[in-house]
Symmetry: C2
Subunit: 148 residues, 2 copies
């Protein structure tokens, strides 16, 4: 399964994701579900550390880009974040649950065309940290993808 | 020294900062200098992981808020990040160096008055990751401080 490959890749190549015990739960073609336990990612207030929340959203959105590239048949790519905006709405008091949206078919098609004709393109990805059906963190990142 | 207290606090209360080997180098009253080694914070491209860069800037800016609170005599506070914007300008290829700006005297005075009269206030803090005199990451965060 592609989501297992993603987890193996990040754990082996980005050691901090393994230490944080980031896990990929499910990839449904419209959403990627990822998690990290509270204990190792705790802060001075006993809630989830903002750095861990940023890291989980950043790598989950990156992960959606990587999954899309595999599905589109672009296996050798460099995917880098260009910028992000993160809003911290509520403290996270339990294990951290992240939901990342897969972009629309139109956005993916537009990216595919750029990659085919220009060898590079960018896409916006949104991740949210959810607890008890409430949004705790809202992340929006722009990722640049280059064919290598 | 106050910067040593800050390091002891984050390493003891936010375990991820200790694992990342975040260090506080110097606090000059206008800037806070912090670092993290590349090896433990590396990504799939052999450069610094965006999650680590976000974490170092986030905690360094938080640290400046905490240092300001100690200097102003507000010892019991809750300092939380409200939102941030981060721009990744260049990849970081060596150990990570972060420079965080202490806000102006006017901004600090405005915050102090809010804390005295309303028991809470917010302030914007800027951190930059610098390599070979070039800016690699630009972070701007808004922090909310409450007297508890």
């Amino acid at each position: 399964m592609l989501s297992n490959k993603l987890l193996t890749k990040i754990h082996s190549q980005i050691p901090l994701t393994k230490h944080m015990k980031i896990d990929i739960i499910k990839y449904t073609k419209t959403q990627l579900f990822s998690t990290a336990p509270l204990d190792i990612n705790i802060n001075d207030k006993g809630t989830a550390f903002a750095g861990s929340l940023s890291t989980l959203t950043t790598i989950s959105s990156w992960g959606v880009c990587w999954l899309l590239m595999q599905e589109l048949g672009f296996e050798n790519t460099a995917i880098v974040i260009l910028k992000n905006e993160t809003v911290f709405l509520k403290p996270v008091t339990k294990d951290i649950n992240c939901v990342t949206q897969v972009p629309s078919k139109e956005e993916i098609l537009k990216l595919k065309e750029k990659l085919l004709f220009k060898k590079s393109g960018s896409i916006t990805i949104k991740s949210h940290i959810i607890e008890d059906a409430q949004e705790c963190v809202s992340f929006e990142g722009i990722y640049v993808i280059k064919i290598i």
